[in-house]
Assembly symmetry: C2
Homo-oligomer: 356 residues x 2
């Protein structure tokens, strides 16, 4: 079951079953000339960084903090409400009483008498920042194993906190590193957004996972994990409980998906031992990516079950991590069809070879 | 029917009816600090530019060229096959005999016995570059009215050429200006991609337009054009036959849509007089955007009817133009829900005030 084509030179379409979307894999595009000299973006030196130790007054008060066993500091990881939130609700001392009742669905087009092209509504929920070190460190790859583990503890706790609020529909944990990945501050941090609205494309993904489970009597990602382990050509690394691979129909070059090998719908319910394994696997993947693509921006995203899928047999959580090597250009905005110039098999080989 | 909220400060959700997607309008986000000092990207000086006059041998042979009435040059606009195509087919001297028969809707998930997570297929069609000046000019805003008109003639002719090939499903014309918009060369140019596959999201948009037409006995964009002209707050400019406005639920800040005021499904069928009006309106919008956001990258895209919608009462062509002011970050990749920090009413006011 290995790939028979020459992935290095053949353009082709691949179908992303989950998104039900074709992706163009176009290795010939990598030979293009480039007029634009990339200037390394110089981040500020941290002299005014609001996330550094001693400047806690520059952020809203912490809602949680974590300290390592042998640490002498007041905190090693600190969670604060985002000072510039994308959602409306106040966030300090939350008992969520400000939240409206869950809207029950909300995305479907109501069959009213006349279609309203100007629908608007309030958005409630939470928007938090996880500050991942008291020092002006810019990547988790500079942290040790215990510090990395603490960060993932914070991810788990905060996702659990927000998804336990029954008035909310959705929560996502994400990290933007570097300007091209959407970061505005260089100090290592991640963010969590929780909303009382289930985004349309997440709802579509949920429907696809349910469809797969109905037709195949198996979870989509359980099947995919088995297939990727068997085929091997897109595998980057595995641990006893997780695998990391470059998905067959990635929209972006060198995107890596981490899956638990056995079925789990909610990231926030994983055990301490698994959390430790996952956090260090992610750390190693960041180092692989940084070796292959020095100074490039990257993102990661934890897709856990939205409220409607808690305990689901169809939904399987995943972590996606992707360096920002290409730009979203006019064709992609026009068609929502992506051109990925690096075949996932080639990407996986390069990441495997980037020893850690 | 004017907007009653304070668009400058209130976060809210707005529904994009066409995409059936909620967008977060979050003006509070514009106050964020910024660690990253933006270095102006220095494009090459053109000494090796393959698009300049005299270097025609550096590209494949032209498939079409255009010369102004009073021009003494061999060409003012030149269309060549893309040397680094995203689609497989050879492109020179096309009679399209290499293309496979039209696949007949291709996106649906076939109800086969077992779901195949590794579907792949060839992609055929065309990928062309429209070189928009013999000189090393970097924006159409530096060209005069006649030169701009010639470019739009090329757009119309090439879209017509490809969409006349009955084995193709889809064609899109797009422009990437600046590195952040996905350009690899600075010399002013646009691109056309035609495929024998209808991208999933275009198919979804077609279904939404048909649904609107069925329910409302009116075309979606005919209705929207009326509403935008009546409300006025998002209008940037109008001509006798076109209007330009910032759509109510834009995913991106300062995105402008141009619509013909009366129903037209196919851009490539517009009259010479309308083409001249449209090309100069687009030129003015580029100048407005360049005044508001100097040195920022931008894209534009012409969404014309795919093969299945030719002559359709439901599909209305449009041109979208958008500066690249924000980055697609982890939240957007995770949820496909976009955070737009600039309310469209504010964006339109700024663009109106940027006199041309």
């Amino acid at each position: 079951m290995t790939c028979e084509r020459d992935e290095a030179t053949t353009n082709e379409l691949r179908h992303d079953w989950l998104a039900d979307r074709w992706v163009i894999i176009a290795p010939q595009r990598t030979e293009r000339p480039d007029d634009f000299v990339r200037q390394p973006v110089e981040p500020a030196d941290g002299a005014d960084c609001p996330f550094c130790r001693g400047r806690e007054d520059n952020t809203p008060a912490a809602v949680a903090s974590y300290t390592g066993r042998h640490s002498s500091l007041a905190w090693d990881v600190r969670v604060v409400p985002n000072k510039f939130p994308a959602v409306n609700a106040p966030l300090v001392g939350v008992e969520s009483s400000y939240l409206p009742p869950r809207s029950g669905g909300s995305n479907g087009n109501r069959q009213t008498e006349s279609i309203d092209l100007f629908r608007r509504r309030d958005l409630s929920g939470g928007h938090e920042v996880i500050v991942e070190s008291p020092l002006h460190v810019q990547s988790i790859s500079q942290l040790d194993r215990e510090a990395t583990g603490l960060i993932f503890e914070a991810y788990r706790d905060r996702l659990r906190y927000w998804l336990n609020d029954r008035r909310l529909e959705y929560a996502v944990l994400f990290k933007n590193v570097g300007e091209d990945a959407g970061a505005s501050l260089a100090h290592t941090h991640s963010q969590l957004i929780a909303t009382d609205m289930l985004p349309t494309d997440v709802e579509r993904a949920v429907r696809r996972m349910r469809l797969f489970a109905d037709q195949e009597a198996s979870c989509l990602f359980c099947r995919m994990a088995e297939d990727e382990l068997e085929q091997g050509s897109r595998l980057v690394e595995q641990t006893p409980d997780f695998l990391a691979f470059c998905p067959f129909a990635s929209r972006l070059p060198s995107l890596v998906t981490i899956l638990p090998k056995t079925h789990q719908s909610e990231f926030e319910k994983i055990s301490n031992a698994q959390l430790e394994q996952l956090s260090w696997l992610t750390h190693r993947l960041v180092r692989r990516i940084e070796r292959c693509y020095p100074d490039r921006a990257y993102n990661f995203v934890i897709h856990t079950a939205p409220a409607c899928e808690q305990g689901s047999e169809a939904f399987h959580w995943r972590l996606e991590i992707f360096p920002r090597l290409t730009k979203v250009a006019g064709f992609e905005w026009g068609s929502d069809c992506y051109i990925n110039p690096l075949a996932p098999e080639m990407a996986a080989a390069a990441l495997r070879q980037a020893g850690v």
